[in-house]
Symmetry: C2
Subunit: 430 residues, 2 copies
């Protein structure tokens, strides 16, 4: 009987592990099943561009069924595993749960927003981890501009034009940079509004933004953002978010309808309920071959795992680059395991990093050299374009970029997509 | 003081009236304000292609702010008018309502789904009038394919693969044709499913589909759809839609999670509450100059108005072509009124009609000649491409079409966009 390999999660870890297996497995060696609650993988480095409308949401994703040829796909979410029986239980969108038997199990469950006990945060905040959130933020910001332009109430106008992002890491910086860039660009469509009325505030608890990139790059980014009118508050916390007022630890009170919470992530809660060893941050403990500690048949990598960092010591940071390299080694190790050979440790060489700051604006470090401005932005695009795993998407992304250049951002607010049955209900109610 | 012209509605009537005024008004002659609950106009003939994913939703719309240069725009919905004071009251997205004073008022409020008293319809049905509904249907159909592919329950599988459309007019035929075409095309991504398992049923009360187009064209369309496996039930009604079972008047019972209700439209309910004369179908009564009966300062056209048909007698059918021509005359008549000149009656010459039936498939009549297949489909595209009122959109639509040709439909289901705060709430709950 072929090996049964079940991969839970269709993010970087799940997808790249599956692709490695698809390429490496010989006929009849193993049967591979990928389980994910959505039938696509959001290509995360492109989310800021989805949020600014530079890319169509559909072009920033990988359709899992299109790339998983010869690999089974099940749309559903893991609810538990029975390690004795080697069975994973999956909740489907409809109908009874399914039990999947495995010989080898891969857990690539990623991460979700890590909330702190700030009063009002759960009710008011929005994250920036998924395509749904990125698309929502774009519509939300455009919706706030419409509210400000339509009202005659000065307080409401000020509230609508105040945008607060909490968390100055990679995600927060890219999100505020792209959205503010879009908002500035579309303002010509809103003759009622003036750019000096908009307030964009980035709140960071540490003493500098972009804590995980080099200090030089972080400084470059901070200078660029400040020059564009983004108000960076380092060493500052969000203390409460009640009754429409955001209270910061520096004493500032902001009336705002936009609270983007990007102050870190943590593993999905299911990870802690699997009966597997986790570290103090809730991540699965794996060895350098990506096998879960004490298990011969369970593997993990990416943001839900504490992977030893072969370069810096400690554990790997939660970046897309790390997840992809880990998944490639994980796939290779599964091939070796299926064939009864010795597995190998994960190795890593960083190729560089980029932070996008809006259209034609970015900072980066490539092979040890710093770049910024249009050059960094172009290199970043070129890099990601080559990394998208299907030719179809590459063409579409390049197409969006090409068409976007002469035309700039647009102001279409699709918030109504979030209530598709609204009109029908209204028609029924009278 | 310049004339104050308030245009309520940003659909065909509102947009084309405003564009006519923008082009024709001399400096200082009048101040024009357009009011619409969304900041875009869905380009309705393209909705079926949005539903099949051939076009990006954003490319099938006109951003009102981008085309309304020199015309004010307010994002909001009409709640009433005071004819004595000449004031329209508008509910905004946030904050207190606004009162807009007018000298001339244009009502282009369009239409909404007309529901019949079928038990369960209000809870289960979805319309096909808006961009939100078209995008939702695409995600919904792809979601049903995922449900069918993931489950081991044969009844659930059958239910998920049964798609019922009630209403065989223009909208219903185009919607079912495009969606079924997409579903057939994407099935290769679902090796678990077989095309013979899908059931697509079109229910029509009259004895033929496409009652408003010529019998020859309707026959062509019916033949094509039947050959593709669409089950057309003419002379049939939906009797109930309770407990997940659709009961048809021919005795058929269908377990289905997809009920698209496209059996006609009617004016928005606000139209009947304005104190203006309406006909038995709830439409504003206007004369052939598009002025509301008995009023010198209120105008209407399109689907919310009973416009005398100069070609066939009776009133004009609710088509995009009619609405656009009416709006152009309405705009001209406003210009004449502002200048104190005599207004002119609406005239019309139909240029032809097309029904899209999927990729490379259509039937049509142009200048009295019937066309079908790829030729009709290409002519339809060429016609609409030239009709889109901004060059930006034309390029993007042509781009989508060009890229789509080699690649076909894709299977990305974005249903998660409808709950953008879901992940954050979940993160908060534990």
């Amino acid at each position: 009987m072929p090996h049964r390999i079940v991969i839970v999660g269709g993010g970087y870890v799940g997808l790249y592990t599956a692709l490695r297996l698809q390429k490496g497995l010989r006929q009849g060696e193993a049967e591979v099943t990928v389980v994910n609650p959505e039938n696509f993988m959001a290509y995360r480095p492109l989310l800021p561009e989805v949020a600014s409308g530079t890319l169509e949401p559909r072009h920033a994703v990988v359709p899992l069924r299109a790339v998983l040829r010869g690999t089974h796909f099940i749309c559903g979410a893991l609810t538990g595993i029975d390690s004795e029986r080697r069975v994973a239980t999956v909740q489907l969108e409809a109908g009874p749960p399914r039990e999947l038997e495995y010989d080898q199990l891969v857990l690539g469950l990623g991460a979700t927003s890590k909330l702190l006990p700030v009063p009002g945060l759960a009710e008011r905040g929005i994250g920036f981890n998924s395509l749904a959130e990125a698309a929502h933020l774009r519509d939300h910001v455009l919706g706030q501009l419409e509210i400000a332009a339509a009202t005659t109430d000065p307080e409401l106008r000020r509230c609508a034009l105040t945008f607060v992002f909490v968390g100055g890491g990679y995600t927060g910086v890219e999100a505020i940079a792209e959205l503010q860039d879009m908002a500035l660009d579309v303002l010509e469509g809103y003759p009622e509004l003036d750019r000096t009325e908009m307030r964009w505030i980035l709140v960071e608890a540490m003493d500098r933004i972009l804590g995980t990139v080099s200090e030089d790059l972080a400084d470059l980014a901070a200078t660029e953002l400040t020059a564009r009118g983004i108000d960076i508050r380092t060493g500052t916390l969000l203390e409460s978010a009640e009754n429409g007022v955001l209270q910061l630890s520096d004493g500032t009170k902001l009336a705002s309808d936009t609270l983007v919470w990007v102050a870190g992530t943590r593993p999905q809660s299911i990870v802690g309920r699997l009966g597997l060893p986790v570290d103090e941050r809730g991540r699965l403990v794996v060895d350098d071959t990506l096998r879960v500690h004490g298990r011969s048949d369970v593997w993990s990598a990416g943001d839900c795992a504490a992977v030893p960092d072969p370069e810096q010591g400690g554990t790997c940071p939660p970046t897309a680059q790390h997840a992809v390299r880990q998944a490639q080694q994980l796939g290779d190790n599964l091939l070796l395991t299926v064939r009864g050979q010795a597995v190998k440790p994960f190795r890593y060489n960083s190729r560089g990093e980029f932070v996008t700051l809006g259209k034609n604006k970015a900072v980066g470090e490539v092979l040890g050299r710093k770049v910024n401005g249009t050059l960094a932005w172009t290199l970043r695009r070129a890099y990601y374009a080559t990394q998208i795993p299907t030719w179809n998407r590459t063409v579409r992304v390049l197409g969006d970029w090409a068409v976007g250049m002469p035309f700039g951002h647009d102001v279409v607010d699709f918030g109504s997509r979030e209530q598709p049955r609204g009109a029908f209900q209204e028609a029924a109610d009278r």
